[in-house]
Symmetry: C2
Subunit: 400 residues, 2 copies
């Protein structure tokens, strides 16, 4: 199997880290000046690697092998969360570039736009998969400052360019490498994670409407305290969910707001953002049924409780053959130091899995940290991960 | 018993309502231009009523009967909460002015500064009671915009004036009229509330420290979710408090903040503002002990839970003789339409009760609303309340 060039790989990663540096991490929100610079940087590198490269109308950087034959698509996203880490996304893109150079044939590379959701939901990979309608682009706005997506694309210089889409017949499939973003590999002392499936998530806004009142003069018996209704539902979820979930289900209340939120006012309105994730579609719907039962019970109290979907994503299984290829490559380079595991985070691979076979490889995250500038991975683990990734890609292409 | 002049009383109230009008209410924060105008307006009216009147160094408007003999001090506060009602405070001041004119002797009138806490805690009445040290004034700042109190007093034209203080030997006591700010009188179809005691409150900030993590990749077993710890303590309070409280105890969580408050991040820190109120000092301390036990139990979980006092106020009993005088006056003018009741809100009367006998009369609040521009009371109820207040004042003075 061909050996990657570790120094060249790490030089690329440090070059990307220098575009939008924030403390020890990177601040590179989608379509901002630094994100645009990083896309032109990648396009130049891919061209130097011999790929026909374009930045398309949604900001995807796509480099294509000009020679005939079946291709494997490698990639990840270039932008970061706000004030986040240097490897989340960038590492998978750099692996794609390095493997294209190492193998010399059969590799297309993608640097996706906006996996991190500054403007929408997986805009870049959905666009390439043919799953992003123009009308949706019209409606997207920056979650950071409200800028319309069309304006941001124009400012970035991408407006008016065609959007490229994948011809599934061209591709053997899609492979993505990523940091784990959790502590499973580190805790187990493993170096490589072979992703079995990417979780789906159901996400909700739950609103409690009661009556705002003076916290001194309003007797308990007549209160309709929206905050108390929220606390009781939250406690009921913690009580009930453990008997419905699977071993890797996770559920989270990320945000609670009491209105007006003053110390001496009984809250008249309260809101919570709640979500759960699992790799098993049936379990997601069982959890949703349980949640709705709890909301109905909460509605028996003095407040009106309503639940609305914010979004849903479908769990995606990774291709069995790709898992085997990744596992065998891992066993060659890191015998006994790899494990199969689901991905609790969403990734572009779950989008590409809708139109072609897909697989993912994880490297360990130090302390399990992500979405923070202190996110990091040992450079030896990065190099090992890229070599395993290259071997698996070569194996998959050889079998095509 | 002398009859008040209802038209004159209502004209005064509408004149005050015109100073800082906001929708159907008033926006007159302490030491703002409209608050200062209202204080000069009151000083002029009190002077016209034959009282020796000063605006002192904290902004209190004090009108004193120049003739010898024991006095009764009547009053309330002039400023309002932000964008609040026209009667909260103003009505008690106008009653004082009207009763001074009606009785013609024996009445001092106070328009207190900052009962509503824009800069501090009961600054005006504490100053007149001799309970406000200069050093505290040095440290106070606007909760709205951070302006130092000294600067606000200078801008208002009050800096450098002496602060007046009560000579307890001058006074038979203090009487205050106020809107109820709750729905007890309206629900019971009553017109007059005779206040038995003003509740004390214990107020806390409870902080939960866990570990911030990715909501997809962090397994439930290793989470230290500060939001879940908060919800569990909140639910434990709702569970346990009913067996410790008295019939009129109230407890409230007015504010909850999860940090960072993003839908897909396990909160690493959470905070709640919690308070309870009761007229019984022993019960307040029993509730505090119960709360601290629950916090200790919460500390057995994966998060660190700490509790800190924000403030405490002491319950104050109203003078028995004043209650009797108010009740008899109410029975004369509104037979069977009055009741004794505690005050769940804080009032200047609880401060004056530290240095002299004190009493309070409530009129109904429509819909129990207060601290909102829609706060209101029927004008007939206002007029009735003032007549009862005048009769009680006359009775108390006659007995002196």
């Amino acid at each position: 199997m061909p050996a990657i060039d570790a120094a060249r790989l790490l030089a690329d990663l440090h070059a990307l880290r220098a575009i939008g540096t924030y403390k020890t991490g990177v601040h590179r929100p989608t379509y901002g000046a630094d994100d645009v610079r990083s896309r032109h940087w990648l396009a130049e590198r891919l061209t130097q690697a011999g790929l026909l490269t374009e930045i398309d109308g949604i900001g995807n950087v796509i480099g294509r092998d000009p020679c005939p034959g079946s291709k494997l698509l490698l990639g990840s996203h270039l932008e970061t969360q706000n004030h986040a880490g240097w490897l989340d996304g960038a590492m998978g893109v750099a692996f794609g570039l390095e493997v294209a150079r190492t193998l010399g044939r059969g590799i297309d590379v993608a640097g996706w736009a906006d996996e991190e959701g500054h403007f929408g939901s997986f805009l870049g990979s959905r666009s390439y998969a043919g799953l992003l309608p123009e009308a949706e682009i019209d409606g997207c706005k920056s979650v950071d400052d409200g800028t319309p997506l069309r304006t941001a694309l124009a400012n970035a210089g991408f407006a008016g360019k065609p959007r490229l889409t994948a011809d599934p017949a061209r591709y053997r499939g899609y492979l993505e490498a990523h940091i784990e973003q959790g502590g499973t590999l580190e805790d187990a002392g493993q170096k490589i994670g072979v992703v079995t499936a990417i979780v789906g998530s159901h996400r909700f806004r739950i609103v409690f409407e009661g009556q705002q009142n003076h916290a001194g003069t309003t007797r308990m018996a007549v209160r309709r305290d929206a905050g108390v209704a929220l606390i009781k539902l939250g406690a009921a979820i913690e009580d009930r969910f453990p008997s419905v979930v699977g071993p890797r289900t996770v559920w989270t209340t990320g945000r609670i707001v009491l209105d007006p939120g003053a110390p001496s006012i009984v809250p008249g309105r309260a809101e919570m953002l709640f979500q759960f994730r699992d790799t098993d579609q049936a379990r997601l719907f069982a959890l949703e049924a349980e949640l709705k039962t709890l909301v109905e019970q909460a509605n028996q109290g003095p407040c009106r409780v309503t639940i609305a979907h914010i979004g849903r994503s479908v769990p995606r299984q990774m291709d069995d053959g790709f898992q085997t290829a990744l596992e065998r490559a891992a066993e060659r380079h890191a015998p006994g130091s790899h494990q199969r595991m689901p991905s609790g985070a969403g990734h572009d691979a779950q989008i590409m899995a809708e139109v072609m076979p897909a697989g993912m490889l994880f490297v360990p995250s130090i302390g399990g940290v992500s979405h923070h500038y202190s996110e990091d991975t040992n450079e030896a683990d990065i190099v090992l991960g890229c070599q395993v990734f290259a071997d698996a890609a070569a194996t998959i292409l050889a079998a095509s």
